[in-house]
């Protein structure tokens, strides 16, 4: 087999050295009755050539953003990724290495994580960033668990405009624990109302921009939360917005968490993506996940190491701040490279371009006679109300090579026939015009 270097001669010599007659004998510690006596029922071995043909056939059956006009986001966003990102993460030293437990031989990964932590603190307005969590949803659950540890209270006030899958994962994570979830209603403008927060509230959890694309007034929410001694946890599902919107930390968010897939990570049917979490230095010992810190070597030279590991499962075991071990390292590397390439100027331009494209789309849809139900400002995503069942509009658009957005019927039924439309820098004016035409279609 092409991946296995052993020759029959090697195997003979090695067996002789370990004093075993054959390979089977190596497994005698397994009780005979449990040893498998048949071959596994999996497909026969395939050559590279066959694997490639088979996977190309499977891949060809999936619609993808490379071959369609794409307006579907909802927490997974289509952005252009400079080719240097994939070229660099394809360096074997990055993708075939393990978690940097041995710093002297892992400085490349460690310095990059330190750079990520720095950039993310700047973007979110915080003082500490961890080295990634699984995804935006579990990062949000971890953020809430952290807030519960910090505040020692038992109620969690969750915005009704939180991504439904984030809400779902949060409920899964909390199910076993005895905490209470309270839902904060949405105002008519699409933003979360700071109601029902009391002295028992551990934290207020809002998404920015929220699931409906509306930009929340974080300062007001922070004020309401802090007034009751609760923390404000802000989840971000479209990280590009961080380059344009007031930094959550600066608005009073105590913990910022979410999904950084938009920083150069492919949509890939939903993963691997990049969960993140940033917080105040005061709470650093409650932060879940790995942290990289600066230090000196035996010669007094600057270097980087994993640090504060007493928070982690491999040291603290059942008292750890989280059970996470393997995280999303290579996605963090993609995002770090993406941010380094764009830098201050590029990230700002990118965010402004997303805003401009979305505003143009909103204008076109309004002009086409469709309703945008929410008055609150948006970034690159918004809700549009249709004059027909959303699935019918989506099917008509698909027939024209347009993936027009997310049908909200399942997630926010009270909005009726509504679509969540995401417009990024990848949408051309022409494709936006076609979108407006096709969605207006029925009524026109």
């Amino acid at each position: 087999m092409r991946y296995l270097p052993h020759t029959d001669a090697d195997i003979r010599e090695m067996l002789a050295r370990v004093g075993q007659p054959d390979l089977g004998a190596l497994f005698e510690s397994i009780p005979a009755q449990f040893r498998l006596t048949r071959a596994l029922d999996v497909p026969a071995a395939a050559s590279e050539y066959e694997i490639l043909a088979e996977f190309e056939a499977l891949a060809a059956q999936n619609e993808h953003a490379g071959a369609r006009a794409w307006f579907l986001g909802a927490g997974v966003h289509h952005h252009f990724v400079p080719s240097a990102v994939d070229a660099l993460i394809s360096r074997a030293e990055f993708y075939t290495s393990y978690t940097p437990y041995q710093p002297e031989i892992s400085q490349g990964t460690l310095q990059a994580i330190f750079e990520w932590q720095t950039m993310l603190c700047g973007l979110t307005g915080q003082e500490v960033s961890n080295a990634s969590l699984y995804d935006g949803a579990s990062a949000t659950a971890e953020a809430v668990l952290m807030a519960l540890r910090v505040s020692k209270r038992r109620k969690v006030a969750v915005s009704s405009a939180l991504h439904p899958h984030y809400r779902g994962v949060l409920e899964t994570y909390l199910a076993a624990l005895d905490f209470e979830l309270i839902t904060l209603r949405r105002g008519s403008d699409g933003r979360t109302l700071p109601s029902a927060i009391d002295r028992e509230t551990a934290c207020v959890l809002v998404q920015q921009p929220n699931f409906l694309g509306c930009i929340e007034d974080l300062r007001a929410l922070a004020h309401a939360a802090h007034a009751q001694g609760a923390l404000l946890v802000t989840a971000v599902a479209e990280a590009i917005s961080l380059a344009l919107l007031a930094a959550p930390g600066d608005c009073g968010a105590d913990i910022v968490c979410g999904e950084a897939q938009s920083f150069g990570v492919p949509m890939a049917f939903g993963g691997p993506h990049l969960g993140f979490l940033t917080a105040r230095m005061a709470h650093v010992r409650q932060v879940p996940g790995r942290l990289v810190g600066e230090t000196l070597d035996a010669d007094g030279q600057r270097g980087y190491v994993l640090t504060l590991s007493t928070r982690e499962q491999h040291i603290r075991r059942e008292r750890a701040t989280s059970n996470i071990c393997t995280n999303q390292g290579l996605c963090l590397m993609m995002a770090t490279i993406f941010l380094a390439l764009h830098g201050k100027t590029g990230m700002r331009q990118l965010a402004e371009r997303n805003l401009a494209k979305a505003e143009y789309a909103k204008a076109r849809l309004r002009a086409a006679g469709l309703t945008l139900p929410f008055a609150a400002p948006s970034f690159n995503e918004f809700v549009v109300q249709l004059r027909e069942p959303a699935d019918r509009a989506l099917a008509r658009a698909r027939a024209q090579g347009i993936v027009a957005g997310l049908d909200l019927a399942k997630f926010v039924p009270e909005l009726g026939d509504a679509l969540l439309v995401c417009v990024t820098e990848t949408a051309s004016r022409a494709s936006i015009d076609r979108l407006a035409t096709v969605l207006a279609g029925a009524g026109a």
Binding site: R17, E63, F94, G293, M347
Partner: protein, 494 residues
């Protein structure tokens, strides 16, 4: 240095922020074809002006920066990376290629099933293969890594008991278990009861029986365990747990010692996770991403996370969201799909015989290496090992050389060190997992390095204690890092 490494130099490279110069940029956007929008005017105080923390660099500088950083890492593609329990086997290049096919890489989780049949078919087939390999009945691909798989598994155990109105509060975890086991159970609100391994390094039914009660939801066990030893009494232990109404969770991190040879499901395991980034060759990416699918027996199928993939009568694949007893959703989308694609390509490449062969050779390599270094390093347990072996620094006592020093000195020989000081039940453990990817000559070179270091510990301990000597940075001060944490760069230090 032995033959594996020799003289060289490293390129230096400052932090991005130190290389930054105002006005540089490494990207350009397409010409704007829509009206500009002034964020301030539109958003007022909701918008920001400054982007602190972001550097300013041209494309060439960014490329050189990360290319230089990469040269400071060890990697599987550069040589043996024998981290015990981490299974750093070769990551086939074809897997990287297929995972990047546009139909996989640019697909969207909210595209309807009808538009993503290729992906659903892959999920369905991968689930089937994992179930067959493990002897489980159903599999979920959602967990993003082993630890999240543990969480999911324990949640299903909890749901199973809850369903029976059976409130259990404890989970048994052997003292040799990986830290994620107790952490995952605790995250589920369970109290952890540690069970001591026997003097032979394995768990004994008696010890489990003593700890077992109607208050115990289940036992988490790793097999082969973290010493690389097969839990010979596992079947009996499972009976003990089952007899008291408990369930057994199998930590699948070491499944690579069993694939094609024995199946956890046949041994009595009720639920287990797979680390696709270990057993199934997906690259570890300097920390992740991995993937931690979970397999369950039929008794637990009702509690699987949603949605699950199903094949309809007409042969098409659909998502099923409606499992009334499901523990719910664990991932924002469908899990680390890119890793699932790679793992499936790996299974396709090896087939039934190749998968078994890989297991046999991984075990042969561990045993051969142990035979080569036995005598220079103390072997704490006599039991035969499977895919990895644990030795200690006891024979170096008196030299002042510890396990950590041996690990660091290996770096000077061009090797990434093994896992150290784990499992916790062994003092000064060196946990070595060569995997099947290493050739006999490669193992011999590595054994020679280990023997040379043991020798050097007696002849020149100071050189070992102060290792590494040939890396860009010498031994790094982890205590200092923890004492006053500097977790980000700030202008002018501080």
């Amino acid at each position: 240095m032995t033959g594996n490494a020799t003289r060289g130099f490293s390129y230096e490279e400052d932090l991005l922020f130190e290389r930054s110069r105002p006005g540089r940029c490494g990207v350009e956007l397409p010409r704007n074809d829509v009206p500009e929008v002034d964020p301030r005017a539109l958003l007022g105080a909701l918008s920001r002006d400054e982007l602190p923390g972001l550097p300013e660099l041209s494309e060439v500088e960014v490329v050189r920066h990360f290319t230089r950083l990469s040269t400071w890492n060890a990697a599987v593609d550069l040589g043996l990376y024998p981290l015990g329990s981490c299974t750093m086997k070769y990551n086939p290049k074809i897997n990287e290629k297929v995972a990047r096919l546009p139909g996989f890489a640019h697909a969207h989780p909210f595209s309807p099933a009808s538009e993503t049949q290729g992906l659903l078919a892959l999920f369905f087939e991968l689930e089937r293969c994992l179930a067959e390999i493990s002897g489980m009945d159903r599999v979920t691909l959602q967990p993003a890594a082993g630890a999240q798989g543990e969480l999911a598994g324990i949640m299903m155990i909890r749901a199973y008991h809850a369903q029976r109105g059976d409130k259990r509060t404890k989970v048994l975890v052997p003292d040799s278990a990986h830290g994620t086991n107790p952490a995952s159970a605790a995250l589920n609100g369970y109290e952890i009861v540690s069970v001591a391994s026997g003097s032979d390094g394995i768990l004994h039914p008696k010890a489990v029986a003593e700890a077992m009660s109607d208050d115990v939801a289940g036992l988490m066990i790793t097999n082969p365990n973290t010493l690389g030893i097969f839990e010979t009494h596992l079947a009996e232990i499972c009976d003990v747990v089952h007899a008291k109404g408990g369930l057994v969770y199998g930590d699948g991190a070491n499944l690579n010692a069993l694939v094609g040879v024995a199946r956890p499901g046949d041994l009595g395991i009720d639920v287990m996770h797979f680390n696709l980034h270990k057993t199934f060759s997906t690259p570890h990416g300097g920390g992740g991403p991995g993937a931690g699918p979970v397999g369950v027996k039929a008794s637990l199928a009702a509690y699987l996370p949603t949605p699950v993939v199903e094949r309809a009568a007409d042969g098409t694949y659909q998502w099923n969201d409606a499992l009334p007893h499901s523990i719910g959703r664990l991932h924002g989308n469908h899990g680390n799909v890119g890793m699932l694609v790679r793992a499936h390509a790996y299974i396709r490449a090896l087939g039934p015989d190749g998968l078994k062969r890989a297991t046999q050779l991984a075990v042969l390599n561990a045993n051969y290496l142990l035979a080569r270094i036995r005598g220079a390093y103390h072997v704490p347990y006599a039991n035969p090992v499977l895919h990895e072996c644990v030795v200690t620094d006891r024979m170096l006592a008196g030299t002042g050389v510890s396990t950590l020093d041996v690990a660091k000195r290996l770096i000077d020989h061009g090797y990434h060190p093994p896992t150290v000081y784990f499992p916790l039940i062994v003092n000064g453990a060196l946990m070595i997992e060569p995997t099947e990817s290493e050739s006999k000559e490669g193992l011999d070179r590595f054994a020679d390095a280990l023997l040379a270091i043991a020798e050097e510990a007696h002849t020149d301990p100071e050189t070992v204690r102060s290792a590494p000597h040939h890396t860009r940075r010498r031994r790094l001060d982890e205590t200092r890092a923890a004492r006053k944490p500097v977790l980000r760069w700030q202008p002018g230090g501080a």
